[in-house]
Amino acid sequence: GSFGDYGGQYVPEALMPALQELEDAYERYVLENEDGFLDEFRERMRDFGGRPTPLQRADRLSERYDREIYLKREDLLHGGAHKLNNALGQVLLAKYMGKERIIAETGAGQHGTATAMAAAHLDMPCEIYMGRTDVNRQRPNVYRMRMNGAEVNPVEAGSATLKEAINETMRDWATTVERTHYVIGSVVGPHPFPQMVRDFQAVIGEEIRDQIQEQAGRLPDSVVACAGGGSNTMGTFHAFVPDEAVDLYAVEAGGSSLEIDEDAGLAPNSATLSTGTDGVLHGAMTKLLQGGDGQIVESHSVSAGLDYAGVGPELSHLVETGRVTPTNVDDDAALNGFHRLSRLEGIIPALESSHALGYLEEEHDELGDLVVVNVSGRGDKDLETVLEETEKRELEAAPDVEVFDQ
């Protein structure tokens, strides 16, 4: 249950039997395809989810950066992001395990909507915990979850955002663990979650590997993915880890600054791999944004989906061993990346994915001749944020907004 020094199962004793049960189910169903679990999963991801997603040559970016740029189009997956790979895998696994109920937490709402969608598809009762603040500012995602028949439980405690929602979901799970599966949304949490979520997401890199060889005739020189918790990152990288010649770049949210304000308990970034230190959070030993005493600081990014103070333990390990290069770009670069892809390629990317595109703009000279960038999701959900943040700034890639103002 560990990746070098990282990983583990740092959870309350009450949850340990459930983790052992999950580990057992993971090994049987996911690793050994017992009862045809994997076959059903793959078929549903094809028919319900829309896999495989395309690998698209980006003509204008290729010209702009004078190298071959390919985009992995996870934005085309059902729900608008790679999230469904994991949500559907876990809900299906819960069903195979005989669980009667699904819970999950969500911050901006992407994991919650993917889980609600998967639960509706598989006819599993589903409850999503979401901070009241997030409920209020992410209405459309709340609506989507409700439309899919999920209960949305607003969490009123503290700042009423992701952290409180995680705590509340943990409480629910600790109370109902015998009949409930907790669908963790990224490659984080206690073993076997980081490994299992990675395996559900690994289809991204597996498809890229086949597609790039078919389309470009060889493996890429460089693979770039954004990293928050790290599920799209690990999903993209996993198939390439053994290919030493393929460089892997995890692009984190540099936010507005890489400095931590320890007195305020704030990091104006989410660059955990780039700047974090080892510690234990939400069940695993990994790199964290924390103060010297061990208190977790509040992270920040213009992209809500990257806004997390931890990161998957396997990524910490791959960074520590030098296999993955941690990098980051700031909010401005991500916003420019958003506008640039929208305008040049006709793809409105998620703000999360826009970080990978920002990196491409800033550091393409570091990259090889054949580059794959994972577009982990679509940006419709981010339009309001992008407009707001764009108006505050002078961004070279942004369209003028006069028509919006009338």
Binding site: Y10, P17, V177, Q290, D293
Partner: protein, 294 residues
């Protein structure tokens, strides 16, 4: 607890924590969060709990992500953090305290790892021992991950208390019970900490399941009244653990002085309740192992 008292107890039991439970049977274990609302207040509250009859006192060192706590303790932790509570301040408080009852620190694993600025548990454990703490409870550290901390505790003469959940069964239960140090913290029900109206049926099941193990058992999660203590001791517990009910007193008292009085009274109520439970067992005609009386 004084060093003198500690060395006395060492003879009869593995640790002063175990001694505090066994010798004060049925024992009262109390918990409050250090620094809620200030370390100075905490000092007065701990002394009140000690006077009220606590046989063991758990002091919470606040961590920003208390995933095992209910809303009551989470709120106390937030207040303590907002008041600027740090590990160093915590240890200074412990050094200042004069109590009959041994003191345990309850905190999350990351706080232990980070103390002394390396991802190493030893600086924390050494400082805890130096400050006079008798043991450590870590709600997010299951037995499987506890080797480094246990070794450090052993080397420094501290108990590492394990939690036994309603879901802890079979081989894992055997394994954990064989490693018990101090006492077994029996979680009364699934879920998180927090005062409840009734004692859970799971408590009875758990104590029945644990009756074969000859280790001291103290039951927590949801205990708030003297009657709960009575019922739990009747069900076979060696002690009861109370936390959220005390936090409620602290957060609802108008002045720190009111809180001091109410905490002492609550501890006394709970201790009386526990004793009633022990007494009812003593007069019970059924055969049971006679609980030790101080």
């Amino acid at each position: 607890m004084t060093d003198e008292a500690r060395s006395e107890n060492d003879a009869a039991y593995d640790s002063d924590v175990e001694a505090a439970i066994r010798e004060n049977h049925p024992a009262l274990v109390t918990y409050i969060t250090a620094g809620d609302p200030s370390l100075e207040d905490t000092k007065a509250y701990v002394e009140a709990l000690d006077r009220g009859g606590s046989d063991l006192i758990e002091l919470g060192l606040p961590f920003s992500e208390p995933i095992a706590e209910g809303q009551t303790i989470q709120a106390a932790i937030n207040r303590a953090l907002a008041a600027g509570t740090t590990p160093d301040g915590f240890f200074e408080l412990v050094e200042d305290l004069e109590t009959e009852a041994p003191l345990l620190v309850m905190t999350y694993y990351n706080m232990i790892l980070q103390y002394g600025s390396e991802a190493d548990v030893r600086p924390f454990v050494e400082r805890a021992a130096e400050a006079g703490l008798s043991g450590i409870i870590v709600p997010d550290l299951p037995a499987e991950e506890s080797d480094p901390l246990r070794e450090a505790c052993d080397d420094n003469g501290l108990d590492l208390v394990f939690i036994i959940a309603p879901t802890t069964e079979g081989e894992r239960l055997d394994s954990i019970m064989s490693q018990v140090s101090g006492f077994a913290y029996v979680q009364a029900r699934l879920g998180t900490t927090g005062a409840r109206a009734n004692v859970s049926g799971a408590t009875h099941d758990s104590l029945a399941r644990l009756s074969e193990y000859d280790v001291p058992k103290a039951v927590g999660f949801g205990v708030s009244k003297g009657e709960h203590a009575t019922e739990i001791v009747e069900a076979g517990a060696d002690g009861v653990i109370v936390g959220s009910a005390l936090i409620d007193i602290i957060s609802s008292s108008e002045t720190p002085g009111d809180a001091v009085d109410a905490l002492e009274a609550k501890a006394a109520e709970l201790k009386r309740g526990a004793r009633r439970g022990a007494d009812s067992l003593t007069v019970d005609p059924e055969e049971r192992p006679e609980p030790e009386q101080p």
